[in-house]
Symmetry: C2
Subunit: 343 residues, 2 copies
């Protein structure tokens, strides 16, 4: 069921955070009872090979090895979201409402289908498939950057129900927004501040420090390091940082695409062998769209550095974390990295 | 089991967030399997009346109506946390570690037992009990403000297992930290910025705007308004804001204590009658400790305004919210307030 009303983006006047308010409000009855929609089983999954005509609009596909065999016709497909929050058509309509600020919820919501097969993750079916997935990420980000209304593209993955996954099929999601999301803005602002003070990229400094100390590093490849950050928010949180200073994910080179597929696969496999059935999220943080990178916080892109963050979802957040923004880490990053290294 | 090692506070170099890292790291096996510790049943609950000698150190108690009757000996009790993250004893020990910053995890962790009875919430057993709870909050905040090592005291409540509650007994929790937590620091900074620009308190402005518009107001009492914020992060999120401009919760007057007990009870009852079995968190945001209120962001306390935020926990957060800090609201605050008004 597609929503057709106009969703809006509202700005929290206190924290500067944008909130997308859906035009068709759910009544209280929708929240009662367990939120227990089961992920689609394989025989009812529209994302599987052979059911292409039943999905929303296809945006791109990576051709497979055999056009005649339905399960090899494509390796990845990108489709419009079933239930988009951000709408592609329309103008931004920035306006006030009393003392508050709002705008139209313009943007893109896409589903990146990571495999034609239902219950398998791309990292389990071979290196080639993972390269296709990473290359699809890159292609979508490069394409969406051309829309001058859009300021940011976030690619993220929800794996497992407690991480918010709603489908049984392997997929990532993409959202492009007309605003720079708060969490990214904070990183940009703080990286810029660090750069002004030190005249060095904070991510390059973190990478050098972690390679010097070694004890929080999980693996190092030719182009990347994977490590547990010094002040991780969640136990076994892992970051993958490219060694080459580069603010934009879509600018990665072909050999970096391959190497990224390799290190991401290894880290996910390590996490999952330590924690069978692990629920996790990951997301890519990259610089805002080039068109806006000229603005006050992104003169040159020198002060930002793209990376991927993986957040295992073991713990429930409580009033303490929500009220304070301070997190309690029951396993140190040094121990977490050691366990992950030794898998 | 009390932890005796030295927990540490580490600063995230990118986001400025402090993380408390526990000295005794949990191994991966502790995270596998459902996180299924059941809340204590009444017959094994140490927080119930009559088992006072089995709890950690008692910090304060509000006398009850009959010292002879164990269930009426006290109305609220405050005890040290079973498993404290922040330690009362010691110095701050601020120091560097390579490029990073850390300090000792000094502070207070307290449990505010809201009733001598096990499976009942204070708002259900009469107005008097809720007044005792609010008065206990006030007394603890006023007392902890005297410790000059501590910069902030957060009082919060986890109700229901998916909101992080671990005990079946009604309680709130209190954490005092030697740093101003990130979420509070953002509110202080932004409220200060608004004040500099407008020469008015942002919370006073929000209150006036909400009273003018009316459609997001749930109830208004003599001293407070309860409303669903314009850019709520979660559906049915509710704030209670005092009408009198006052930055510090511990400065509320006796008549404001009573009225706060009344409005908080009403709002919780409304939420729970709309959503039976609702899991929620609430927390009080108040100015940092007075001793530090002289610093650059709190010259006069004119630019902050204490309040309570209630967050119903219906939705699972996904990689989108964690990666962007942008939230999707499936029920508008206007609709949510209408449903709550009409209960």
């Amino acid at each position: 069921m597609k929503k057709t009303g106009l969703n809006e983006l509202r700005k929290d006047p206190l924290l500067g955070r944008w909130i997308a308010v859906l035009s068709e409000s759910l009544p209280p009855s929708e929240y009662n009872g367990e939120n227990s929609r089961e992920p689609a089983k394989e025989d009812s999954c529209m994302l599987c090979a052979g059911r292409e005509s039943e999905t929303p609009h296809e945006i791109m596909r990576t051709p497979g090895s055999s056009p005649a065999d339905p399960s090899k016709k494509w390796t990845t497909r990108v489709i419009a979201n079933f239930d988009p929050v951000f709408m592609v058509e329309g103008d931004l309509g920035r306006r006030g409402e009393g003392m508050y600020d709002k705008m139209n919820s313009i943007g893109a919501n896409e589903i990146i289908i990571e495999s034609p097969h239902h219950a398998v993750e791309p990292e389990d079916i071979g290196f080639e498939q993972m390269i296709h997935v990473v290359e699809t990420y890159r292609a979508r980000m490069a394409d969406l950057e051309k829309d001058t209304r859009l300021r940011y593209t976030l690619i993220y993955k929800n794996h497992g129900r407690s991480a918010g996954a709603l489908y049984g099929h392997p997929l990532s999601q993409l959202v492009s927004t007309p605003v720079i999301p708060k969490r990214v803005k904070e990183e940009l602002d703080n990286a810029k501040r660090y750069f002004s003070y030190k005249e060095r990229c904070i991510f390059c400094d973190i990478m050098r420090e972690e390679m010097r100390i070694e004890k929080r590093v999980i693996i190092e490849s030719r182009h990347y390091i994977a490590f547990c950050p010094y002040a991780s928010k969640f136990p076994f949180e892992t970051w993958i940082l490219p060694k080459r200073h580069n603010c934009a994910f879509q600018d990665i080179r072909p050999e970096e695409v391959e190497d990224f597929a390799l290190i991401l696969s290894s880290v996910l496999k390590k996490l999952r062998s330590l924690f069978p059935g692990l629920a996790y999220n990951y997301f890519i943080h990259s610089a805002p769209n080039r068109i806006t990178r000229k603005d006050h916080w992104h003169t040159l892109g020198d002060d930002y550095h793209w990376h991927l963050e993986i957040m295992p979802r073991f713990l429930r957040t409580t009033g303490f974390e929500w009220g304070s923004g301070l997190y309690i880490l029951p396993t140190s990053p040094e121990h977490a990295a050691k366990f992950l290294r030794e898998v």
